[in-house]
Symmetry: C2
Subunit: 135 residues, 2 copies
DNA sequence: ATGTATGCAAAACATTTGCACCTGG
DNA sequence: CCAGGTGCAAATGTTTTGCATACAT
């Protein structure tokens, strides 16, 4: 019942929002650009503008439904927030993204931040490399 | 003798390149956008176009003289490569950047990448937070 | 009804590129 | 001299915004 997520976020349940949420939820690739989503909408025969996709994603981000990442290469990618924090391994050749999470690293980050007098709001560890399939 | 760095990189020693390198070397803020550098050049009375700043920075990056970072917020920032790898703590309010380096984290990253079949080309750990002075 | 959301086109940015002119070795 | 570098303006690619219309409650 995904409409709940929208209502909970204080957003009206509209067709574009539901469609976009649906794409984020059902895609097996978890990291999509606004254009990726736009293209999928067109393919599905939906009449939704690219501007709306950006607007909706920005609202989703503000509502905590989605995370925006700035990986290398111009476009931002959006990922459905599934609750479990994790970091990313990105293949610089094919764009494949692997998620990982390591408590040792997490703890170290907290320690370093507090020593530097920073109150963490967010953090992003992204390792860029070449995946097995691209070698 | 910074002209050496340029020659070593196979780049002609031209006025724009020297000026830009000089700014990167002497600035006490280590992370500058192309516009930051452009503005400083204008203030110093140099007749250098923004396009040239971008071109030169891109060449410097290719030559390994400079690293380009994509922190949050549109513009890329450039940092003189001083040899010692490090990660960043960025204040989301004032933009201050603190550098750090932790061998435990580095080692974990290598381990995680190799387990996932990735050959690391680069990595970026950036912690976003609010620094002491902004609270 | 009515306030919010959308679509479209235009604007706003950051960055790159084409091209005629200039410069360093 | 001559390849390579630069300045300017125009092009590009991504994301945002203004505004008139359409929609959810």
């Amino acid at each position: 019942m995904e409409t709940q997520d929208l209502k909970k976020a204080g957003l009206k349940v509209t067709l574009p929002r539901m469609k976009i949420l649906e794409i984020l939820e059902t895609s097996n690739v978890h990291h999509l650009t606004a254009e990726d989503i736009y293209r999928q909408l067109l393919e599905a025969g939906e009449e939704i503008g690219l501007a709306t996709v950006y607007r909706v994603l920005t609202q989703f981000e503000a509502a905590g439904l989605v995370t925006r990442h700035h990986f290398e290469g111009g476009q931002a990618v959006f990922e459905l927030e599934r609750g479990a924090h994790h970091d990313h391994l990105v293949c610089v050749k094919c764009g494949k993204v692997v998620e990982f999470m390591d408590e040792t690293i997490e703890a170290k980050q907290r320690q370093i931040s507090s020593e530097a007098g920073f109150e963490i709001t967010d953090h992003a560890l992204t390792i860029y490399g070449i995946c097995r399939d691209c070698r």
